[in-house]
Symmetry: C2
Subunit: 451 residues, 2 copies
């Protein structure tokens, strides 16, 4: 990223880019200092583009007069984002800084959940009327350009009850005869979203249709605002970050990695780690059940990590693939049968290949040792072969079905994290392994049991 006329740093003045580059490593006081060194227009641009967290931190360091000035710079949807995270009292203090009409806009937006289309939208869109002529509409839009509208490139055609009739773009208006009516020029085939639609789904609508803006309607078809694509880029990033962090077995951080303090970081991670640790303790119980088997053929214990991890790895693969496909809308709940048979086939193939590798390895390595236990190395090999097939198949099925089950229960599919799936596979993997061993090495255990 470079600027064609990137100015040299003037005395006592900082360029926009200098501050942007340095921002990440500055502390609170240095940030305020840097911000004050910007020119007036640069400061305005810089402030309105800051992340909400940073805006609030900066506002906190301002004097009352400065705060009023800067808060008023924000578009109503950005102001609502800022106020969303404050407590009642501070929210009221901030609201008091706005003029009455803006205050009403911001308060209306605060009523929406932050993650809904309603919480994303701006109420400032350009309205035109169906009975205007094209020339009137252009003039009208041109006049609206002076207000701080979010987007002036589309005019939304509303009836008296604020219901959306259609959309005209500048391009449409420019191409039409000046005397034609807006009704004749407008597109009526408009993609819209309801105000309570989840932001992840809104992001998908944008991605599918390559849109610049989406009108948001209430239950009665009245237009409440527009969501613009530049806000959606942030949403898509955010949602992916949340998914990735959950897949890794952490609660969503909700802040940049390096800005989360030790206590916060431990809190976000310890929850899942503890749950997983308790779940893992089941492995001890299961292992205890087979302790006599291990005492009889200690050789068996050597393969435990190999076997259970094969399940965990194939399970992690399956679960992340299905979680992502669900996030992208490629897989729905109703697809569960297709996913199941898809994974059944894949799991069998993968298990067979890995099992054969394991078989070959055992045959090659343990001719002597195996003999000590009155078993042939091919018997040990076959035990490994069938255990790996079983464990990989099982891991694949668990991993692919768990996200669907979670969605069915109304939970987030991304909670089927790689560590959770691996843990589930560990417990069942031990069972599968020892049951297979009991079957194939039956004679060895019988022999040991008879005194």
């Amino acid at each position: 990223m470079s600027e064609p006329q990137a100015g040299a740093m003037e005395l006592g003045r900082l360029s926009l880019d200098d501050l942007r580059d340095a921002w990440r490593v500055l502390d609170g006081e240095e940030r305020l200092e840097g911000f004050r060194m910007l020119g007036v227009l640069d400061a305005e641009e810089f402030f309105t583009q800051l992340a909400t967290n940073d805006q609030r931190a900066l506002l906190d360091t301002f004097s009352a007069t400065e705060r009023r000035h800067w808060v008023r710079m924000l578009a109503p949807d950005d102001a609502a984002d800022l106020l969303q995270e404050l407590d009642e009292q501070r929210r009221a203090e901030y609201l008091a800084l706005f003029d009455e009409p803006v205050r009403r806009e911001v308060a209306a937006l605060l009523a929406y959940a932050e993650d809904d289309a309603g919480g994303l939208m701006s109420p400032r869109f350009a309205r035109v009327r169906p009975d205007q002529t094209v020339d009137e509409a252009i003039l009208y839009l041109r006049r609206q350009a002076f207000d701080r509208l979010e987007l002036i490139y589309y005019g939304y055609v509303l009836d008296r009850e604020q219901r959306l009739l259609g959309v005209v773009s500048f391009r449409d208006l420019f191409r039409a005869r000046g005397s034609a009516s807006v009704r004749d020029v407008m597109k009526t085939d408009v993609i819209t979203v309801p105000e309570e639609m989840d932001q992840e789904t809104v992001g998908r609508v944008f991605a599918e249709h390559d849109l610049v803006a989406l009108p948001v309607l209430d239950g009665a078809g009245r237009m409440k605002g527009i969501v613009t694509v530049d806000d959606i880029v942030d949403v898509v990033q955010e949602e992916a970050t949340e998914d990735i962090q959950k897949i890794g077995g952490t609660a969503a951080l909700d802040a940049p990695y390096l800005e989360v303090g030790l206590l916060g970081m431990v809190k976000k991670r310890l929850g899942w780690l503890t749950i997983l640790f308790f779940a893992q303790m089941l492995t001890v119980v299961v292992m205890k059940h087979f302790q006599v088997r291990i005492e009889t053929v200690s050789l068996l214990s050597l393969f435990i990590p190999l076997i259970i991890s094969s399940g965990g790895n194939s399970g992690s693969q399956a679960s992340t693939l299905v979680i992502r496909a669900m996030s992208l809308g490629e897989v729905q709940l109703s697809d569960w049968k297709r996913v199941f048979f898809h994974e059944l086939a894949a799991g069998l193939c993968l298990g067979l290949v890995l099992g054969l590798i394991g078989f070959a390895r055992v045959i090659g390595l343990w001719p002597g040792d195996a003999a000590e236990y009155a078993l042939f190395s091919w018997q040990l090999g076959v035990t490994i072969l069938f255990s790996v097939i079983g464990v990989v198949l099982w891991g694949t099925l668990i991993g692919s079905m768990l996200p669907l089950v979670l969605r069915r229960l109304g939970l987030d599919p991304a909670s089927a994290s790689a560590p959770l799936v691996a843990t589930l596979c560990d417990v069942t993997g031990i069972l599968i392994y020892f049951l297979t061993a009991t079957f194939w090495l039956a004679h060895v255990f019988e022999q040991a049991a008879t005194p």
Copy 2:
């Protein structure tokens, strides 16, 4: 998503939304049939919004005449995306379908790597000259609206050598006096990207600055095209999908989950699984080394899955957090020391809590058993405590440093997948566990060694 005037399905005609909803579950022939049932304008809208893969599949089923018609519907950047994946010969066939000027545009775009800013951009942006008046510029942009320009809301002010001098938006033009010159109105402080910038970085620039379009410049500052934010939503989705799939231990699928056949699916997954399986075989070697310890105190084997998985889980957490932070540009290579100490502290805290839980559990469960081996349950407990601390700390450090090491080597940090980190932690976890056991239970092993 709903349409205000969603028309009832006419006889022999399909609505746009009907086809969109059904598309996912239709096979090739049904898709063609459905497409042919669309009205002319709907078909045009539908085709241009299709994913590149689907466009190509549809084109393949068309007659030569139809193909020419539909290929020409595509904007040059979309056409380039389509042709990118064809072999030499078919690419030439498709190129021949365009008129000469468009063919030249498409060919120029094909020279860029698909993942670069150059491969994303459209060469069709609106140009204005610095010495035009505002009224002239509006008229000029209005005229350009008839061509299929990507975006007419910004005019890019170029000098004779096509170097970018500034940008004027419609809003700027509308607010200015009609007789002012473009030079006086334009913003010169423009954020631009070089043509070879990676698309992931381009996405980040959009997210940081809330932009609608970014001009792409070559090395000499000449403007080559614009990247628009609607393309970026796809890029951001795609890059996140790739990261997530890699984190899950799969090669990037590059296609919707349900559309990847069995063979393709196995190919994408088997590679990593096999590598991990071979790496896991190291656990057998390490275990073999400690087989005598297990034969002496078979109780020790019960805790192996618990111990090694604690390392894997904390490692997966750390690696996914760091991978995502790197993708978002929050963590750079130069931050490695901060990350290291951050994770060192977090790993110690997490390990201590989990270790104490393990300690309590052992004390509670194994008073009798432990006595059989001439050791006290607190000795076994302490072994678990210190093993868990060591393994969790080690997993956290491996998980957080591996993505940075991979980036340093010029590889993709996302390759530090959860399964890879877990596998590395398994091998080292066994070592840490048995070395800790050897230290704390020294007297038991000594006693067993003396006949």
